[in-house]
């Protein structure tokens, strides 16, 4: 295995794992305030899935020689990144639905081709993840359909959440192809199967009819069907905002990392106690033998 491939793969998998772990926070924000027991149980299951996805991926990174504690340290120090989408706040319960619909929808678009990644452990983790993501997207869309059948205020909440999450969702596919210098190498290595712009277009084409069925307007005046191309045309993403958020200056960057750091450090005594307990049990077993 070439060193550069290993390095790139570790970086890609780690970034993906970190995204799943940080991705628990925006929705975790609503677990205690979900409007019904049904929605709370669903949301809890979804957040648990995100934790699971992070762990599948850390486990895949470890097959390349990465160390789990080191990866966590790099996330907390900011040396490794996570998806910039999780640096936006979840202001209302409609955000939970829109995250399932748009954010998980975009993630599925990105992840389905990765099930054929050239690195086996990553591809196998992606297969598991994609199966579970489908629940995430459907619960989000169903939540939004329910709200759209509700009061005018609820419909307004759905539209407002859609307005706030649409453009950040398009940013999830990364910079435009012309500014993505690593794409060619990654495609040669088969760790990326489609370019950022191809996947972004696919997501837009899939989402427009879903928005229509829901009865919300996507916040892009340039969005229209192009008969010649057989795709939807859409406006330019605000790449200056994207760069700002990736650089650490999004609305929630500091809060997300601080929360992760506090959870990790607050859990240190549990990890230590469990290790001591395990050592004692092993010693007792040995003494009895």
């Amino acid at each position: 295995m070439p060193d550069a491939y290993r390095k790139t793969m570790i970086r890609q998998i780690a970034q993906h794992a970190h995204s799943e772990i940080i991705g628990m926070q925006p929705e975790g924000n609503w677990v205690t305030r979900a409007p019904s027991l049904r929605r709370k149980a669903i949301l809890l299951a979804k957040v648990q899935d995100e934790a699971g996805h992070g762990l599948y991926l850390y486990s895949a990174a470890e097959t390349l020689g990465a160390d789990r504690e080191d990866l966590t340290a790099r996330l907390i120090s900011g040396a490794q990144k996570y998806s910039s989408i999780f640096n936006y706040p979840t202001l209302t319960f409609a955000d939970v639905g829109v995250i399932g619909w748009l954010v998980d929808g975009a993630a599925i678009c990105n992840q389905v081709p990765l099930c054929r990644s050239s690195y086996g452990p990553y591809a196998r983790a992606m297969i598991r993840i994609c199966k579970e993501e489908s629940f995430h997207q459907r619960q989000g869309y169903e939540l939004l359909m329910t709200m759209m059948r509700g009061t005018p205020a609820q419909r307004e909440m759905v539209q407002d959440a859609t307005n706030r999450w649409w453009w950040p969702s398009l940013m999830m596919f990364g910079p435009p192809d012309a500014e993505s210098p690593n794409t060619a190498q990654s495609m040669r290595w088969r760790i990326k199967r489609h370019t950022n712009d191809e996947l972004r277009q696919r997501f837009v084409d899939m989402t427009v009819p879903q928005a229509a069925a829901l009865g919300v307007t996507l916040p892009d005046p340039l969005l229209r069907w192009n008969d010649e191309r057989g795709n939807y045309d859409f406006g330019e993403v605000d790449w200056a905002e994207f760069k700002r958020v990736v650089a650490g200056n999004g609305p929630c960057n500091a809060q997300r990392i601080e929360h992760r750091r506090a959870a990790h450090e607050g859990g240190a005594w549990v990890r230590e106690a469990a290790a001591v307990h395990a050592a004692k049990r092993a010693a007792r077993k040995e003494a009895a033998a």
């Binding site: 762990l55 486990s59 097959t63 020689g65 789990r68 990890r271 469990a274």
Partner: protein, 111 residues
Amino acid sequence: MSDATFRDGNVADATEPPRSSWPLYEVFLRSKRGLNHVHVGSLHAADAQMALHHARDLYTRRNEGVSIWVVKAADITASSPEEKDPFFAPSGDKVYRHPTFYEIPDSVPHI
């Protein structure tokens, strides 16, 4: 066992003790359909009992399994991908071990 073990073997590096405080366990699941235990991934735990509980939480959230094995990654001995060709060579040239090697006329039934 070399660095190569985890490359193709896809079992995490078992040569040096993990730097993490909890050791790494490989997880195997048997699904309901009567298949063998299959490797599904790995996790860290303080001991085997905790590894079993973590494996249940992590790998069977949707009834994927009826039985779990956990094995310390450090206890697994794996064949080396570097020596794959010579290692498996003994079976490479024995086509007569396969039923298709033998020509039987189509007119002979049930064989």
